[in-house]
Every structure is written in structure tokens, then in C-alpha cells.
């Protein structure tokens, strides 16, 4: 099986589409920021690392094997700005498990764009990738991130305390999850 969803995905206000090499500048505007990197595994990006990251994302449009990912640029339909990125990672083929992640430009926050984009991503992932369960992780201090998951009806399944050292400090992490059956029922 090689799941490749039909792209782009359109929502009311957004388009989720594959990355292109021309997206480097737009992505760099938010990935270079300290506040964006605070709760990510990586620090702020240089222009070079950003170009490499975008180059890798261009090909992330279908899943062939475990840990492959589909990564989509999120664009405002009205205005055309690239406001962030969303990704689904195939964590287990046999158990049909997926992880979603998202990064958004702070300038476009508090308008419900991230929720709208992640909702569309999860719908696509259940419908077209036939995942059984989707989970997402975040730092427990990242209130905006876990509130988004709660808005989407995801359940908090885990609260790990000081289970890892990340960038030299103890990591506290939430894991949220939702089953396909729960998503369909909502």
C-alpha cells in the first residue's frame, strides 16, 4: 500500500498543499523565530537549514513506509500567504498509528487557522490513510498547542514528567490522541 492523498485539501479559509522550493522565504519568516522554536525539538533555523527543510518537505506527499510523513504548507485562500505547516507521520504501519504535528506563524494566531488546518489534516489522515489512532505531543507549557488538540476533541492520554532532557532542561510532555471511531462519531 502506498497511501497518497488527493491534494491540495481545501477548507473554508485555507488551502493545504504540497511544499514547493519557492516556499523557503515564507517558511524562514517563522522558523527563524525564537518564540516559534521554543517548544520544538530544533532551535531557530538558519536560512540554509530552512532551505534544506523545505527541500525535504517537497517530497513528503505520500507514505511508503513507517515514519514517512505527509507535510503540507498551509496557505490563506484569501491573500495567499503561507501561514504554517502541518504533518502526519506514519508511526506504525501494522497498528495503523499516526502522529500529527503543526507549526504556525505567530502573526496569524488567534484566528482559528491552526485548528481549521489540523482538523482537515486529521480528517484526511483517517479517511485516506486509514489510520486507527492519531496522537500528538506537546510540551506541557505550550498552552496554545494543547488547547488546539482539546478543541478538536482529542483526549489527553499522557502527562510525562521529567522523562527526558531536551536542550538541557527537563521535558514535561502531554500526549493527546483520538481514535478513528471517536473522530467519526463527533
Amino acid at each position: 500500500m502506498r497511501p497518497s492523498p488527493e491534494l491540495p485539501i481545501e477548507t473554508e479559509r485555507l488551502t493545504l498543499r504540497p511544499f514547493t522550493r519557492g516556499d523557503v522565504d515564507a517558511v524562514f519568516t517563522y522558523r527563524q523565530r525564537e518564540d516559534v522554536a521554543r517548544y520544538l525539538f530544533d532551535g531557530p533555523m538558519t536560512r540554509e537549514s530552512c532551505a534544506e527543510a523545505v527541500q525535504a518537505r517537497v517530497r513528503q506527499v505520500s507514505l511508503a513506509e513507517e515514519d514517512d510523513r505527509i507535510t503540507l504548507a498551509v496557505e490563506r485562500r484569501d491573500g495567499g500567504e503561507l501561514i504554517g505547516e502541518v504533518t502526519t507521520i506514519w508511526r506504525s504501519v501494522a497498528d495503523r498509528q499516526g502522529e500529527v504535528g503543526y507549526i504556525f506563524h505567530p502573526d496569524f494566531q488567534h484566528k482559528g487557522y491552526a485548528t481549521e488546518a489540523v482538523r482537515a489534516l486529521i480528517s484526511m489522515s483517517f479517511a485516506e490513510l486509514d489510520l486507527h489512532r492519531i496522537f500528538a505531543r506537546c510540551d506541557t507549557r505550550n498552552v496554545a498547542s494543547f488547547q488546539l488538540m482539546e478543541r478538536l476533541g482529542m483526549r489527553r492520554e499522557a502527562h510525562f514528567r521529567e522523562h527526558k532532557l531536551i536542550k538541557g532542561t527537563w521535558d514535561d510532555q502531554y500526549i493527546y490522541a483520538i481514535l478513528q471511531s471517536e473522530w467519526s462519531a463527533a
Binding site: 506504525s92 501494522a94 497498528d95 498509528q97 486507527h132 489512532r133 496522537f135 483526549r155 492520554e157 499522557a158 502527562h159 510525562f160 514528567r161 521529567e162 522523562h163 527526558k164 532532557l165 527537563w170 500526549i175 490522541a177 481514535l179
Partner: protein, 197 residues
């Protein structure tokens, strides 16, 4: 990490390294189907249990992440081997370890497992300087869940249908305790107070 001073004791139990002579006793619980799924190896017959015992006899110190430290649990009153408890070192920089235990069904419901596990945690935090110890158990395994909660470990995770096990969706619980939480747990003070010198 150096080799710890053993054995260690509680009121009713001795925690010591496994010995070759433990084969028959280990056989009585390892070979049980209900125990099988919680072991890292197959131990269905005498040959396999002997191999398992050989492996456990080598688990007497932690040299690198991934290593396991295993102690046999013996009842003082009659020297019966009633089970085992292990600490697996996971993450060197973050000093994480996983607690596992198996007890023979015929010795359950007398508080032996709690007594042994509490002692092992106290020992692990002191001896190996762990920062956090966690334990994973099947949600259907109510006995283990009750034990872990009872000794003061926090429920950190409840995964639903995150994996298939023998064709069925699994439900899994994670419990954990940090070193500083364990130090101030009233259960530890009680244990220390009651300890026979």
C-alpha cells in the same frame, strides 16, 4: 555504575541475585501462559527457562543504557523463591529506568510484591541515582495497576488502542515516580521505620 552490595532485605523478604539452583522455582511461574507475555524471552519449557535464568543471572549490574538489573525475591520464613523484580536503565543523560516485576501466582495477595517493589525503588534511586522510574502495565492487569498506584506511583499515561497485541487492540497504563517524590513519599518512611536492622 559499580556492582551494588547485595542482598537487600525487607521485613519478610530477601532480594538477591539469581542462582543456578533457582531453575525449578523459576519454572513454576515463568512457564505460565499469563506470565509469558510480560517476559522478554520465551520460557515455556525447561530448556527455555534455563536460558532465561542464565540471562537473568547476568543482570547483576548496570553498565550501559539498555542493561537490566534483576533480583530474585525470596521469602525469609521458608526461603521460597516467590518472584523477581527488575530495573532497566533507559536513558543515560536523563537517568530513566523502567521497573518490571513478576510474582508466582501462589504467593499473591499477601503484600509481598509491594514490599519487594518498594524496596527495589528505594534501592534503585539510591544506588543507581535514577531521576525517574516508570512502569508499564496492561490496563487489564488490575493487580499490577493497583500495586503501582498503591506504592505511590503516578498514573502518567493511559493509551487506548495504540497497538495490536495478538490481534486485539491493546490498552496500556504508564506509572512513574521521580526521585524527589519517592524520597518524601510517606510509604518510604514507613518502610524504613519498620525495617529490621
Amino acid at each position: 555504575m559499580t556492582s551494588p552490595v547485595l542482598p537487600i532485605e525487607t521485613d519478610r523478604l530477601i532480594l538477591r541475585l539469581f542462582e543456578r539452583a533457582d531453575l525449578d522455582a523459576v519454572m513454576t511461574y515463568h512457564a505460565l501462559p499469563e506470565v509469558q507475555r510480560y517476559l522478554d524471552w520465551k520460557a515455556r519449557d525447561r530448556v527455555e527457562v534455563r536460558a532465561a535464568l542464565d540471562a537473568m543471572r547476568k543482570q547483576h549490574r548496570l553498565t550501559r543504557p539498555g542493561d537490566t538489573f534483576t533480583l530474585a525475591v525470596e521469602r525469609k520464613s521458608d526461603d521460597a523463591l516467590i518472584g523477581q523484580v527488575s530495573l532497566r536503565w533507559h536513558d543515560a543523560t536523563a537517568a530513566q529506568a523502567e521497573l518490571r516485576f513478576v510474582f508466582a501466582p501462589m504467593y499473591r495477595h499477601q503484600g509481598y510484591a509491594s514490599e519487594a517493589v518498594k524496596r527495589m525503588l528505594t534501592f534503585g534511586f539510591a544506588e543507581f541515582r535514577f531521576h525517574r522510574v516508570f512502569a508499564v502495565c496492561d490496563a487489564k492487569n488490575e493487580q499490577s495497576a493497583r500495586l503501582l498506584k498503591g506504592i505511590g506511583m503516578r498514573l502518567e499515561a493511559h493509551y487506548r488502542e495504540h497497538a495490536l497485541f495478538n490481534g486485539e487492540w491493546d490498552e496500556e497504563l504508564h506509572f512513574a515516580v521521580l526521585d524527589r517524590e519517592w524520597q518524601r513519599s510517606p510509604k518510604v518512611r514507613e518502610l524504613t521505620a519498620n525495617r529490621v536492622a
